[in-house]
Symmetry: C2
Subunit: 437 residues, 2 copies
């Protein structure tokens, strides 16, 4: 019988592992709650009307169509039976494995304030992105309609919490939307008077970057109309606004880009995990005492050279590739005890600020401004899957660049402001199981 | 004071009226429940994974950005106060008018069986299209996962009710999806064994076309794997399937393309209407006794040359243009009693069958097959709004044509199978009003 590999999660780590196991002669089952692989680094562009959903997501089945050794299941995993070596699906089905790869990613976390989620959505899925897009666009619509000055000001205040790359990117594009794209489209409000706040508890924005790049990003953001507030944590978020220390700021649109929490793999495995819920893995990315179980990407606490490997796409891909390499070696009879540890190769830090500035850091090489933006853009088009997406994203960007108009501005689906069930967006896999049990 | 025109509905009729009133020196307010104008003739392509939502919808504000005489409101109308000449919004606001244009379209209707809607969604909005797309794609996913043969067969049976152009187009593309696009992507099921039923109570499909074109469509559909059943009405629709006379056909995916019901304008106006709820208008498209109120498009029962004008895009546009012309004449002091009646110019009938056949009828000119498909495609690209959409739709079609792969195949948002509120998709305007009251 062929060696059976079950991969949970078709993100960067899981999909890379599956890709790199091509021709290894295994029987692979790839399980995901969604039918698409998502290019998360560009998700903020869907949230801010630059790209449409279909440009950065691909049906997993279509990607793996030619891989007859891979079976794709749209299903929700609820546990792992380590004794029987089986993955348990919500509908009760069990999928047996010889090797298990868990790469189920992370969700945003609210540092013990889960009640903030309804008012401050985070950005991890396509639905998160369309939710944020809808809220941002509806805030302008509401402001156009309201007769109350006080209400109008709160509607035209947008607060982004957390000033890592995602927060910086979101704030930059929302500022451009308000200051450059929308002004001529409204008759009662001046969208240029919108306040865009970027809030960071730490002392600086983009803390992973060197000081001069962080300073550059700060001045570029200020120029494009973003108000940066560092050094004070958010202490409260309600429907009406946010509290910053003692100061209450009325703001109807709040976006969370501050923290993440790993998926529940640690519970499935009954494994040791760090504070963010990431499973502590050994140097070969397997769970201590279970060399047949790999945990990769945002779900794993991986160290390399004594430092925590960051939760970014290149790191996840490297881990997927490493796991595939190791499995191939083992299948050829390699000794588990002699496996070379995973080594993270830092591919640099990137972040864009608005529509024509970016910062790039790669070792001692640093780049900022419009040239960095072009390098960033070309790199991201290169990393997309398939010629079609590359062509369409490149054309979309070119169009926005030339026309100065963001085009992906549909408000779809009804807002479900206070329905935690809808906000948490249970997976579509629920529906599959509903009828398949 | 300027002449105040309120237009309700930014579909083909309303938007054409607004466009043609450019430079007329009026104060125009355009009210719609959604933030986008939708190109409905291609909506079936979103429902069947050929196009993505953003390719056939445009933000109304962006379209009218340069028209400083137009104010756009995202809001829901609940009534018209004819005595005070005011439109009443759900949030209580009143918008005064001198001339009122109502062009609020139609929804699908179930001939007194509203309970069928949950199991047999119709196709009128972007959300309808993504709902149908999600259900079609999930049916294949569920079939791949289920261990039951009986269940699998029901999941792989798709029934389209109503064989007008929309029904024919939906059935044709779903058949291609099952027979040509998906087969290589599944491991447990053979999607080629899916049954696609096109059901029509009347004796023929495409009844608006001449017999030879209708016959051609029938044979083209059969060749692409669609099972056409004419002459028997559907008597029951449940979650498990449909009843056709006495025969029960298990089918998990049912799509409604059989009937429409006009929007509620007749209630707002307390006007006479036909059985489909369309307001009976005079020869100048105004309400009898109220020359300042125009009712256009799918909301109106319009006759021309003794025949009912069909509810299609060209007819709606012609009515919008007529209304704008009449308003201009009146503003110059024209006599209401001497107005030339609206005359419908038949621009022909078109329908596509699958990916490379179509039928076109224009007076005595008839065309069928692949050439008709190309004429149809070029005509529709021409009618899209803006160079960007034309370019992207043309590229999408070219891509599908060359790669034989449909690309818009994302399953997003959770299915809400039995929640009538979610299924009826209340407008996003609800949310605007929630905070603007």
């Amino acid at each position: 019988m062929k060696h059976r590999i079950v991969v949970i999660g078709a993100g960067f780590a899981g999909l890379t592992a599956v890709n790199d196991l091509k021709g290894a002669g295994c029987d692979i089952t790839l399980i995901d709650q969604r039918n698409h692989h998502l290019f998360q680094p560009l998700l903020y562009q869907v949230a801010t009307t630059l790209l449409s959903t279909s440009e950065i997501a691909w049906p997993i089945r279509a990607i793996l169509e030619k891989r007859k050794d891979v079976t794709t299941l749209l299903a929700t995993v609820v546990g792992v039976d380590r004794a029987a070596k089986e993955v348990i699906l919500r509908n009760g089905m069990r999928v047996p494995y010889d090797t298990l790869i868990i790469a189920t990613g992370a969700r945003h976390a609210y540092f013990g304030h889960d009640e903030w989620e309804a008012d401050a959505p985070g950005l991890k899925t396509l639905e998160d992105a369309t939710t944020i897009r809808r809220r941002v666009l509806l805030a302008f619509e509401r402001a156009e309609l309201t007769p109350s000055k006080h209400e109008r000001e709160a509607l035209l205040t947008f607060a982004v919490i957390g000033a890592g790359p995602t927060g910086v990117e979101l704030a930059g594009i929302i500022a451009e939307l308000a200051h450059r794209v929308l002004p001529d489209e409204f008759r009662h409000i001046d969208t240029r008077r919108a306040r865009i706040l970027l809030i960071e508890a730490g002392p600086t924005i983009l803390p992973a970057f060197s000081k001069d790049l962080s300073d550059y990003a700060l001045s570029a953001l200020s120029r494009s109309g973003v108000e940066v507030r560092t050094g004070k944590p958010v202490t409260e978020i309600t429907t009406d606004g946010i509290k910053l220390g003692d100061e209450f700021i009325p703001a109807r649109t709040v976006i969370w880009a501050a923290g993440v929490q790993a998926s529940r793999a640690k519970d499935w495995l009954d494994a040791e995990a760090d504070r963010a819920g990431r499973v502590l893995v050994g140097p070969n990315l397997t769970m201590p005492g279970a060399p047949e179980i790999f945990v990769l990407g945002d779900t794993a606490h991986v160290e390399s050279g004594g430092k925590l490997v960051p939760g970014i796409a290149p790191a996840a891909k490297q881990q997927g590739a490493y796991a595939a390499r190791l499995i191939r070696k083992r299948l050829k009879g390699g000794d588990v005890a002699k496996e070379a540890p995973f080594k993270y190769r830092n591919m640099g830090n990137l972040a864009t600020i608005g529509r024509n500035a970016a910062v790039i850091e790669y070792g001692r090489f640093r780049l900022k401004g419009w040239l960095a933006w072009w390098v960033w853009g070309i790199a991201h088009i290169y990393f997309l899957i398939g010629t079609r997406s590359r062509l369409f994203v490149a054309l979309s960007w070119l169009w926005i660049f030339l026309s100065r108009k963001n085009s992906a501005r549909l408000i779809t689906q009804k807002e479900t402001l206070k329905d935690p069930d809808a906000i948490r967006q249970k997976s579509v896999a629920d529906d599959v199981e509903k009828l398949s049990t």
